[in-house]
Amino acid sequence: MSDATRNIQLQVIWSRLIAAVEEQARSLIRAGFSTSTREAGDVSAGVFNRTGEMIAQAVTGTPGHINSMARSVRHFLDEYPIDTMQEGDAYITNDPWKATGHLTDLSVVTPIFRNGRAVALFACTTHVVDIGGNGPSPESRDVYGEGLFIPIMKIVDRGEMNEHLLKIVRANVKEPIQVEGDIFALVACNDIGGARLQKIMDEYALDDIEAVGNQILERSKQAMMEAIARLPRGTWRNHMRIDGYEAPIDLHAAVTVDEMGVHIDLAGTSPASRYGINCPMCYTEAYAAFGVKCLVAPSLPNNAATLGCITITAPEDCIANASFPRPVVARSTIGMFLPDLVFGCFEQAIDDVVPAESTGTLWNIRLGVQPSGQDRGFMVTTFHSGGAGARPRLDGLSATPFPSGIRNVPVEVTEAITSLVIWKKEFREDSGGAGTYRGGLGQTMVIGNRADAPLTFYARYERVENAPKGRQGGQPGAKGRLSLGSGSARVKSKGIQTIPEKDTIIIEMPGGGGYGSPLARDPEAVAKDVMLGYVTVEGAREQYKVAFDVSGRLDRDATARLRAAG
């Protein structure tokens, strides 16, 4: 076979492997029970070589698993060396430090055999509805309070499900049938991936995938290093302050680009919190690496080689490298700010590529009614977001998360399964940071209960004290704000609170930062924003120095005068 034909064949096998992991992920999403799995595709799936290097990964919704699951397989192999694995085995864990950062994510790894020898591993992760303990509340003082901890162990032993483990799981979680269903789905989806791999090996008469895997990794590394070589070399630092739980948190990063790749060091970052907003290193690596890849090589696939070009270090037991047994359930609180933190370093290195800061962590709404008498009560989480940062040459996306890829839950669906009434859900005017390119708008939601009962409100919001910053002269986005419709009491951004009967909670979500000076924004673009109600006439005058006449038409002369006056 000539080199050229071998080259074509490699490519076909590569795309077939990507399709195999895609099928693996899709079957997991469709069978999944938790809202984040089905609405956001909060799963991941991949194929690995014998040494635990990830060769291909499915493109799924949330970046938090990207690097974390990739590295988890090595931990499985440390515990169970590949040649001790048997055909028909599958292994499981939810170790936050060895898998994907909190107990609610279950990961399963399955070896694939050819002629009696393990030739590859399929791994997958999904977010289950519940894992016991204090549930999604970050109030536990350590990981023991956050639910059942499953160390790396067999879930399937030569074709037999581990009934002992399933029994323990069932006894520890509030929704045993759903969690067990998710475990079966994890095992089944790896089998689908494995069956596809066997077909590929049949068709191309392969005994193993070592050679193919190595070529994929070599090519990927070469392309990633070429992309990194286009960056200037040096070290750049950034600092970001966020609200925190009991005290403000400082995140520090130093990004170094050199011939080895991109290195990020988080020295100076605040120590761990008493609450479950701490982030294990694996999850920090996932989001920090995601930020770099978005800027440097967004179209390259995620695999061991492309991710291996990005390394991350952080001080022991800082909030971005929390040690066992810190509580970590809400690790996304920190993780989702890391791309913006890294962007602040790259802004100094490269021109016109780096977006302004976004809302960051999601503004999910957790509301419940306590059970009383016959009424079972409810507890519901819906996914929503403030605005994203403006981009060089583009306005920011309104009411859209970054870096998460999560989707919202329709209002009609939320109201159909609870007694909640969402009276309003609309863009928040003037909340996008002013700039040559405007930050994305936040949104306002007003929520009450149509049953005569108070609501319990579980708040863990960020960007209430510290707004998303603009870049290159762009203004910050609006801060988030929480209040009661009656105005009768103050609402805090963190902690469990009560919304009185017949009252409403008003949730105003932050806007994204602006990019470039607002005075350089095309007055026509400002006029369009005013026409559409994204910006008020007053906002246009104050922030953009753009004036309108009494009939609401753009007044060019007055605008020129305002702008000249500065």
């Binding site: 050229a4 999944g32 070429e226 996306l397 009411a399 989707r407 609309e426 863009f427």
Partner: protein, 698 residues
Amino acid sequence: MTDSRQARLAVDIGGTFTDIVLEIAPGQHVSGKYLTTHAAPERAVLEGTRDLLARSGVSPADIRLVVHGTTLATNALIERKGARTALLTTAGFRDSLEMAYEHRFEVSDLYMVRPEPLVPRNLRLEVDERLAADGSVLRHLDEESVRALVPVLERETVESVAVCLLHSYANGEHETRVGAILRDALPGLNVTLSHEICPEIREFERGSTVCANAYVQPIMESYLRRLDVGLKDAGIDAQVMLMMSSGGLTSLEIACAQPIKLVESGPAGGAVLAADIARKLDLPEALAFDMGGTTAKLVLIDGGMPHQSRSLEVARAYRFLRGSGMPLRVPVIDLVEIGAGGGSIGAVDALGRVQVGPESAGSEPGPACYGRGGTKPTVTDADLVMGKIDPETFAGGMISLDIGASCAALQCHIGASAQMDARTSAIAIVEVVDENMANAARVHATDNGAELEGRTMIAFGGAAPMHAARIAQKLGIDTVIVPRGAGVGSAHGFLLAPVSYEAVRTRLISLSAFDVELARSVLGEMRKEAESFVRLGVTTAAALEERISVYMRYRGQGHEVQVYLAADVLDRDPETRIRELFEMEYRRHFGRIIPKMEIECLTWTLTLAAPTPEAAAADSATASPAPAPRRTQTLVDLASMQDNPANIYHRTDLGCGASVAGPAIIAEAETNTMVPVGFTACTDTYGNLILKTGKAAA
């Protein structure tokens, strides 16, 4: 009174060509391809019809039925050429159309842009009212708040209005009243109510559907009325029926009111044709494969019925990515669409991999070999260089192909950066595009709990017969059928479609506390609605075929599985029987069921269809000898990547029963069928070309 006239006319308006088939008598056709006249699409229809009537000697008065499908509604949505539309919503919810799913469909792209909503924010107006999820009234409709909008609509010269109030799928009274007030105040205004077009839960999808309908309605209605008048003026006094995306037909009146149901009617026609072949040839499981100039489409066909769905996405603006278009919830044939066609362009990416599409050279400038200024290598260029096209008969000899231009384009854009010659570059493009289509088929099958191995592929559209056999090899498929008239397959399908209507309702009913009376009343209401629509379209009192399905899930899941129910399911022990059907379907999709978990019925559909038109009689089967090849040319075998001499035949040379062995090319005006090494091809009594591997023939 039955109509004794024989002739039927099928018209499929596509972006480039208007395909017309005139059926003179069962099994006897003339057909033609005419350039679409975008300014007034009826012109090409009327001129083409006149041409076919002249060619066949049929009198206009002999045409009994005109069946029409068109991409005009889709194009209006893609090109944003619809009416100036306003949206009336519940106060507090005017932004849900623009917020969409609040997500980024491409997670890694920092510069992702979401498509603009069809209705800008200043035309999204609020009405004071509020329903609860069960349809009860939380705030009564303030009629003054509706009347107050009338001057706004006038001032803004709004041509069409969509009304989408929260929870209207559970109670349509407020929407109905809003519609009445608007029609009263502004008699000429087009109004679409969301609970009439799409009575389903999920405010963004329902809002998107109702806005799309309002947006295309004025232009579609005006076009359809002009066509109707034009046909009458041409002496064609026929019933005019429209092809819907569901694969069924509807009347002109319903099409004028609900034109959004026509969006994917062309591909639906192809699926109907494929399903008809599957039924005639008694194929339990088939895969329809349609490949044209810019996209390819795949449909699973089980038991002679194409898979159905209730949602599709049109106008995907970003590399055909899911989420980058406009969701519509209407009854559709469940087709997966891939940005891969004859005009798709090949390039080398940063990893040194050859990538194909979704960028397309379209028909202008077209592939490099057309010599119309195209310089980038397309799939058609690669097919030509590999020897899959007979240049002498291509496009009926209308276009002379420049193979040198293809080689130069391949060498310059692929070969130079990937260190390959033009021939190898061509192989790379074809292998990659075939693999992309095979992968899309695999993922689609997984999504539907279906297997592909052992299915029969039915291939049509200009590019499909050149790629079908190789994709079949990749999917473990042993038989490929290329129907007669494969180039105008959709229009042929129109003549095989039944008049039908699908009614839909969202009613959450838990299986453990199954409310038979509620289910019965919902189905009764839907049956009444469906019947009233179908009867408008059928001339006879023939019994209608009824199909009931319900979308079900385990409580807590977000995806539903469609379960078909027998007509008498509610009569005895419905709970047990529905559970069994659900569990069977769930097991097929996911391999196992979840015992003891609560099961919910969410969305109900009821379809009534008139009997399918009788099948055309087959020609008599007389085995004819294998013809002599016209000539030979070199063809690359993709499985081995070796060059082989391939015989070239004209499709008309192959009499019924004649069989030829690969490697061979079977040429016709609209396409070429590639028969690779290991396949034989023969013609059956219906005129289908049937390719089989040695395995299937044995």
